[in-house]
Symmetry: C2
């Protein structure tokens, strides 16, 4: 058994992204909301894929993308997520391990294949995601290794997976282990629709068990039932020890339980190519910074820096060494 | 059964490329010659992949890349090649069909998985390829459908596949069908090492059955046993009805059995990103032009245009509509 410390341990969907160019007709034909994420079943996945253009496959998954960024920052990351025992599962595992991420969740021996996110990119540069969870939805409490949770400074959950009852039980179990061992937990809300569907259980879960909450503007508005982002920021104080609300090019705000709200500037990329993964990257920088004991301003700055790199190219995982970039920027 | 005409039918390796950044140490550790292509077995593939960085998967295969370019030019392309009945095989099939390519070769029901080309890109922008053929090497004469060959203006063979005895028998069978029906055959030599290993059978095959031969400088030198490219060009005349020799930024020469040699200029890309697939793309333009009855200069110009597009970005398949580019350039 490994006994080294982990900076951040992610628990989320083990997904391979399938990226292709598309026109609006494809979105309409298959009822895919532009810019959003919908869950689809295998039959829908087969139909949408059949209509998609030639594609590129690249490992994805929200929390897994974050952990890839933690590794690129020079941190020690771990991941818990479910793949099938198939070629795409091998691809997903390889790509995390190749970055030095600890990933030991046993693959599903049979049942559905490894999860896929069909990403259709329209000419307006918007990305519309249709996710077939496949094996990814089958994370259970048995996949949570208490010894691994104890080694992690922060255990980070992906909201998408919160909708799977077994995975949610796994979250609860992991939170108990973390809290009992003086470690912190973090949650990203993932999507406003997740917040709407899971409103009450999410509020209870966050209030009782989450130390660091991450939300973008839409998710924050949904969670705090307001159309006014300033009102959402106001309401955020008190729900949990720290809430981070990201607002794209307007930067982010960090709202601690005690102490002043910290505003963090966004860092403009040299060239904006693709905003996919911006939130995942921000989460990585913030959580890695906090795991290492940085103050809020510095941890938020690391988040902005990671997001800036990831949106400067296609794909949601870093293309350059985030450690080198952060070091050059005086953040590490 | 479909009864429409095909401009070009490719027969080659059905391969998914696995692209990752690498350093020279990885090449040395695994005896991978820089800039070349080696065939590896499954055990070697597992070892090399384990040492590779996080990667991107994209459909490849030399002749398949060419046929993707033919489709992008607005031509009707077909492909014959063997995948396994697995997720990567589905990816390969989808990506060709999504471009409108006819691809009906039955997958292997069991045995090795779909072939993979491990592409390691070093900081000097060189690409070193290690190919595990897997199912791709199992093309047999049974996979050649005479009715499909008859519908194809040009049937195009990939030299890499010439090294598989069953596939070579398939080539011979296809050539007979094509010739008997007044159709043309084309062959790309693929790699100088293929020429060296298959020297005598290749000469016999080309002299007896090939109408259009494609070679780069190294392959031409190997085939004509000279270190002088001008001597190779001189010797090329007479081997088969048309030989095209590509010389990177120096352009290409088209050497017909009768008539003058035609020199074709290369077209510089806006930005040279990645030379992988340049030869495949050139072949597509040349063969599509010839299938459509263009003269040598125009067909060669189409080849240069296709190569120029493909080297202006990462990946060996076209990112823009080659039809639109060729139309703007007055070549279509």
């Amino acid at each position: 058994m490994p006994d080294h410390k982990l900076d951040v341990l992610g628990v989320g969907n083990a997904i391979v992204d399938v990226l292709a160019k598309a026109d609006d007709t494809l979105l309409k034909t298959h009822d895919i909301p532009k810019g959003g994420m919908i869950l689809i079943d295998e039959e829908q996945a087969t139909k949408i894929y059949a209509d998609m253009a030639a594609a590129v496959e690249i490992s994805g998954g929200s929390a897994a993308n974050s952990i890839a960024c933690v590794a690129s920052l020079g941190g020690k990351g771990g991941f818990v997520g479910k793949v099938a025992d198939d070629a795409l599962g091998e691809v997903f595992r390889h790509d995390l391990r190749a970055m030095g991420v600890e990933f030991d969740t046993k693959p599903m021996p049979d049942g559905p294949g490894t999860g896929r996110c069909l990403v259709n990119v329209t000419p307006d540069a918007q990305r519309s995601m249709s996710t077939y969870l496949g094996a990814a939805g089958f994370v259970t409490p048995d996949d949570i290794d208490p010894a691994q949770i104890k080694r992690a400074e922060i255990t980070f959950f992906e909201g998408y997976l919160f909708e799977q009852p077994d995975a949610r039980d796994g979250f609860l179990h992991a939170c108990e282990v973390a809290r009992d061992n003086g470690k912190r937990t973090a949650l990203t809300l993932s999507d406003a629709s997740v917040v709407e569907r899971q409103f009450e259980v999410l509020h209870d879960f966050i209030g009782a068990r989450v130390d660091i909450l991450l939300a973008n503007e839409d998710e924050a508005k949904a969670l705090f039932e307001t159309d006014d982002i300033d009102a959402a920021i106001e309401k955020a104080r008190g729900l949990c020890p720290l809430t981070a609300i990201t607002m794209s090019e307007k930067g982010s705000v960090l709202i601690p339980l005690d102490g002043d709200t910290v505003k963090v500037d966004a860092i403009g990329p040299d060239q904006l190519q693709d905003t996919t993964g911006a939130g995942d990257a921000y989460a990585a920088g913030l959580l890695f910074g906090l795991a290492k004991g940085a103050d809020l301003a510095k941890a938020g700055g690391l988040g902005s820096l990671c997001a800036s790199e990831v949106i400067s190219h296609f794909g949601a995982r870093p293309a350059q060494s985030l450690k080198a970039l952060a070091s050059n920027a005086g953040l590490l």
